[in-house]
Symmetry: C2
Subunit: 224 residues, 2 copies
């Protein structure tokens, strides 16, 4: 697909499709890593547990057309989804709040795998500031504004305690941060903060799991 | 609502509703913590950014009926959703793999807030086994089967490296684990493992955020 076609197709994509793309991106990377070069929608459907027609519809949204009889070129598709999702934008990030979760995220590959460079860590505690994590030295929050002014990081990973969430989020936006990956359990919206936010709620999936366990147990009791 | 009505209503709830319940649960807890006792669907709609009719439909699914002119009794609703989601089942959990993420989860309140008791940690590395985290001593994986046999933990939080994911997941199910909270980035299904699984993919929301950043940038460039 030409660059021109790609850009013609990439607008007006529904948020439902956008939310499904990271999962395709993961599966396509696994296929590439296994040395697979082409795949048709039926085979991808089998692997991913999504209908083939859903896959075709989703990929058509951004002009990811398979060739009749040949299927999809995985490398191209991976590249196009990556471009669409901003993997090649050279995004930079800082972690704000280096408690257990911040320190777990800092050395992880979650950033680099998506084209994001983690550049700095911040905390307020004298016990944590000056220590190192994931190859970076934790800076004091008092340096936040001057750091952002000099280096213009794009994304802040918000890992502060709940009570400090709102104040810190607003301070980050004032300092020029343009996107917040929010782990505080306080939900923010783009309308409130003026920049895109993704709220992560780890506990929600634990609750869904507990629901399934209860359902299974009742099913067993019924059949006993 | 009587116990009988509650149990009559709680079956046949769509997974879409179930997946929305943990978010209601969080908001209701915040309201309770703020001392609010009643709320109508219009007000909850404003706070949560969901339509009032969606809220009424969702709550009706499990018999959470508001009273005309009085709205919902928050404590009751919180209790009912909690029961439906298995918060009162006395679930127990173990963390398997005590790298950065496992060690971040161990001391967090993510378990206790949902009625789950974290009871043991396991790892394979001699550098990690014997150390303590979140008040628990990390056990060697060789003790897994005998531990499960004695204590019958329900949930395993799977935080092992990707290459060990499948083998470890099957070993946990063989040892009697009945639900897996999976952080390995390898997707499992209930069909494959024979027990309910929730797959967590932190990186997916980072990608969605990067997409929003790219969209914002293009919007600005267009308006410049």
């Amino acid at each position: 697909m030409s660059e021109k076609n790609f850009h013609q197709h990439q607008h007006d994509i529904s948020s439902a499709v956008i939310n499904r793309l990271p999962r395709y991106y993961r599966y396509l990377r696994d296929l590439l890593d296994s040395g697979v070069q082409r795949i048709n929608s039926a085979e991808l459907s089998r692997i991913m547990g999504v209908t083939a027609s859903q896959i075709r519809q989703d990929f058509n949204c951004f002009g990811g057309f398979g060739q009749q009889g040949y299927g999809y070129n995985i490398a191209n598709l991976y590249e196009n989804i990556g471009e669409l999702l901003g993997v090649r934008e050279g995004n930079t990030a800082i972690i704000v709040g280096c408690g257990n979760l911040g320190r777990a995220l800092a050395p992880s590959r979650v950033f680099s795998k998506r084209g994001v460079t983690l550049e700095a860590l911040f905390d307020i505690s004298p016990h944590i500031v000056g220590g190192s994590c994931g190859g970076l030295v934790v800076k004091d929050m008092s340096e936040l504004e001057s750091y952002c002014n000099s280096y213009k990081p794009k994304i802040a990973v918000l890992c502060v305690p709940r009570f400090a969430a709102e104040e810190t989020a607003r301070r980050l936006v004032d300092a020029g941060i343009v996107g917040i990956w929010n782990f505080t359990n306080v939900e923010f919206t783009k309308e409130e903060l003026g920049v895109p936010v993704e709220n992560v709620h780890l506990g929600d999936t634990l609750m869904t799991l507990c629901y399934s366990l209860r359902e299974e147990k009742e099913e067993e009791e019924k059949n006993a």
